[in-house]
């Protein structure tokens, strides 16, 4: 207790007592303005100065610094501490960092202590002076958020969104409101895939069966219509974001007693390798790291199957997508770190993300002829309230259109977008601003699940399409409305992607697609 009090006194002393003397004078380049103060920090771009007017932040490019407190501008090293998911952090971020360095003329050196503890050092080509040090200390998404709360990380790689409890702790610790959209971004897309060895003849599994296996209710392949044999379940660390995303999406709880004999792995690659070796194994693997194992498609109770592919993950037609998030605390990161993050989210970085095995966020076109399965579903499920004329109207509306991979899905039965879809609003708006779709017509096509009356569903799907249209239009501030046509159309329950008998099936069906003509 007494040491705690001492700490407070020390903190008060340092922050509350004015500095002995002003140690910097910042003068604007034309000499018209001058400001004295104590330098609090310099991030390579901005000076934070305590002045008689209070704490001010000044753009370093506009002022000259004079005085003993001035930083050595040539010796500034941008430092960034990266924490969080090892599976993502060991593969994806280094790939992006290496390409960023090459593009910007930096030499890179790695200092390696272990697979999870390493530093990338960036220097201007041919120079000795260090410009940036990106230090990685990787484990799980859980640990990443803990590090951020403890102020031991500037950037967290996570396979899940921050939990409510973590966000509260972070706010109390002064790290800002991490649920604020500006504190996080989606870096890439990924998915949870059921994986088996090549020798295993299974091709698909239903989410219900997957849930029963993980809950310990099914422990033999015979229950999955395969040759009898014990199912050996493989998962990644329960603290890993991948497994937690599975718990939340499939098991609908945050904790679970695993069946006896479950094999737990430190990272996605080890899991894939172990599964590839054992024909009786069933693993909850990452799409980005299937290794030498093979994935099973997800099967709905109506026999509909959706396999994880780049397109089905981008469009969220696959049920178990897991976006990869980057979180940063409220403080300003050094210029070089911000440049890197801007690069990581730019179109230029998307091919690197793909080559590293992850799914990029670049919108892709899905031609109508690749949508045969959807039409087949629609025809199979027609009858009752969905009439032949509804189907004809749908086919007529789809004619000449391509579907963009970027789609919008909602939390529960609401009009609240899920994380990937929120990111898609920004991505689409940004593409519109760049003029990617100039002289084209974009249709926001709303769909609903089949629960309730067809008329009500049509209204719901219309509402959803309008919500997305308005959100994208509001986010795309600089578009030229004369160059592009944005419209909405609603189809209700006519074109189901999955069957509504399951909660996840209806969730897949409640969507807004973007069609391009």
């Amino acid at each position: 207790m007494s040491s705690f009090r001492a700490a407070i006194i020390v903190a008060f002393f340092f922050s509350g007592v004015p500095a002995l003397a002003d140690d910097v004078t910042l003068t604007s380049r034309d000499g018209s303005l001058s400001l004295d103060g104590t330098l609090l920090s310099f991030d390579g771009e901005f000076y934070r100065v305590d002045t008689e007017f209070g704490e001010l932040t000044l753009d370093g490019s506009g002022v000259d610094c004079d005085g003993p407190g001035c930083p050595d501008l040539t010796a500034f090293v941008a430092k960034l501490r990266v924490s969080g998911s090892a599976s993502v952090g060991t593969a994806l971020l280094p790939a992006l960092l290496e390409t960023f360095a090459v593009r910007n003329g930096f030499d890179v050196q790695r200092e390696v202590t272990s697979d999870r503890e390493f530093t990338y050092e960036l220097r201007e080509a041919g120079e000795d002076q260090l410009r940036g040090a990106f230090t990685f200390s990787l484990s799980t998404s859980d640990e990443g958020f803990a590090d951020l709360i403890a102020d031991e990380a500037d950037l967290v790689i996570s396979r899940r969104e921050i939990s409510r409890d973590e966000a509260v702790l972070a706010r109390q610790a002064g790290r800002g409101q991490l649920t604020d959209p500006r504190r996080s971004r989606i870096l890439a897309l990924d998915g949870i895939v059921p994986a088996v060895a090549i020798q295993n003849p299974a091709e698909a599994i239903s989410i219900q069966d997957l849930r029963r296996v993980v809950a310990g209710e099914i422990d033999d392949w015979s229950a999955l219509d395969q040759e009898a044999g014990p199912i050996e379940l493989h998962i990644t660390d329960p603290g890993s974001g991948l497994f937690q995303a599975f718990l939340r999406k499939v098991m609908r709880r945050s904790e679970l007693t695993l069946p006896a004999g479950t094999v737990v792995h430190d990272d996605d690659a080890s899991l894939a390798d172990a599964v590839a070796e054992n024909p009786f194994a069933l693993g909850l693997a990452a799409f980005s790291e299937l290794g030498n194992a093979q994935d099973l498609a997800l099967e709905g109770p109506c026999g509909d199957r959706i396999a994880a592919t780049v397109l089905s993950l981008k469009s969220e037609d696959y049920a178990l997508t897991t976006p990869i998030f980057l979180y940063s605390p409220v403080r300003r990161l050094p210029r070089l770190a911000r440049d890197f993050l801007a690069y990581a989210n730019s179109p230029a970085a998307q091919p690197v993300i793909r080559r590293a095995g992850f799914v990029d966020q670049f919108p892709q076109a899905i031609p109508l002829d690749a949508q045969g399965q959807r039409l087949a579903n629609a025809i199979t499920r027609a009858g009752g309230e969905v009439t032949l004329s509804d189907l004809k109207a749908l086919v007529a509306a789809m004619k000449g259109q391509v579907r963009l991979s970027l789609s919008f899905r909602f939390e529960g039965g609401s009009t609240i977008l899920d994380a990937q879809s929120r990111s898609n609003v920004a991505l689409l708006a940004e593409a519109l601003e760049r003029g990617v779709f100039d002289d084209r017509t974009l249709t926001f096509a709303g769909f609903s699940d089949g629960a309730g009356s067809a008329a009500a569903n049509l209204r719901l799907s219309e509402q959803r399409a309008v919500v997305i249209h308005d959100a994208v239009r509001a986010a795309a501030r600089t578009i030229d409305p004369s160059r592009i046509t944005l419209r909405t159309e609603a189809f209700g329950e006519v074109l189901p992607m999955a069957c509504d008998e399951t909660e996840w099936g209806s969730r897949i069906n409640r969507r807004v697609e973007v069609w391009l003509r």
Partner: protein, 268 residues
């Protein structure tokens, strides 16, 4: 803890006596040899160095050099970003078999005073994906490749103890490992894993780097470089400094799965 026998340590670099027989594939270089040692030794003709490069299966280059006035001397061999140190024998001879990184391969030898270089065409170089680790000093680092779900110790586990012949790449579309350099003092050594660029199957080759922590290596920092294709597909060297665990970890094996990127093969 795995140990490997001396017989298993098949040093590709052989210091055996060699004959300068001119085969159909051989290639003699003289013009580009900067015989700086002529300044030191008045008998220029006696010291004239010779370098012969010849193409071998698996896009390998046989290097035979003789530097009569550089006996028992350390030679730095470089080929693009690849580098290793070798020793000349009592007659100033040195030989090695190294992987060609490019279709037109330039190989350079330097003792500090004598520099020899030669060029050779290795038209099959682009048919191989090469991944290399090179480092300074005598620390026993090892590349381990597990090809397409092969188990540790299985047929597709390629490492120093089972490095496979370059012909395996040609016949069986499998990989092989090449060890380069004579670990001595601050000299460089290298290990290069080669895999056919047009594999017959799809899947992943896992690449790891392992080293046993010994009383000699514990707590040390190893300077080196990794060479692998960057995200534009070009071979790129990246410097690294490897901090080995402290001496409380003697007897353990440090396994680094992320120093080298796994090879992802896809049949397209």
């Amino acid at each position: 803890m795995r140990l490997f026998s001396d017989t298993a340590r098949k040093r590709i670099l052989s210091l055996s006596l060699m004959t300068l027989a001119v085969s159909a594939m051989s290639y003699l270089t003289q013009p580009s040899a900067h015989a700086q040692n002529t300044l030191i030794n008045p008998d220029a003709r006696h010291c004239a160095p010779q370098l012969r490069l010849s193409a071998q299966p698996g896009a390998m280059i046989q290097l035979d050099a003789v530097m009569p006035c550089q006996t028992n001397a350390r030679v730095e061999v470089t080929h693009g970003p690849m580098r290793f140190s070798a020793l000349t024998d009592g007659q100033g001879r040195v030989s090695a078999i190294l992987p060609a990184l490019t279709d037109t391969a330039e190989v350079r030898l330097s003792t500090g005073t004598t520099v020899l270089s030669g060029r050779i065409t290795a038209p099959d170089a682009s048919r191989f994906t090469r991944v290399a680790l090179q480092w300074q000093g005598d620390a026993p680092l090892q590349i381990h490749a597990l090809e397409l779900a092969s188990a540790y110790g299985g047929a597709g586990h390629i490492w120093l103890g089972d490095s496979k012949a370059p012909l395996r790449a040609v016949r069986d579309k499998g990989g092989f490992l090449t060890e380069l350099g004579t670990p001595q003092g601050s000299g460089w050594q290298a290990q290069v894993y080669s895999f056919p660029a047009d594999p017959t199957g799809s899947g992943v080759v896992r690449l790891s780097v392992e080293t046993e922590v010994t009383a000699h290596t514990c707590g040390r920092e190893i300077r080196g470089e990794t060479i692998q294709a960057d995200f534009a597909g070009q071979p790129r060297a990246m410097p690294m400094m490897l901090r080995l665990p402290g001496c409380q970890a003697v007897g353990e094996t440090l396994v680094l799965k992320n120093l080298l990127r796994d090879l992802k093969l896809a049949l397209k």
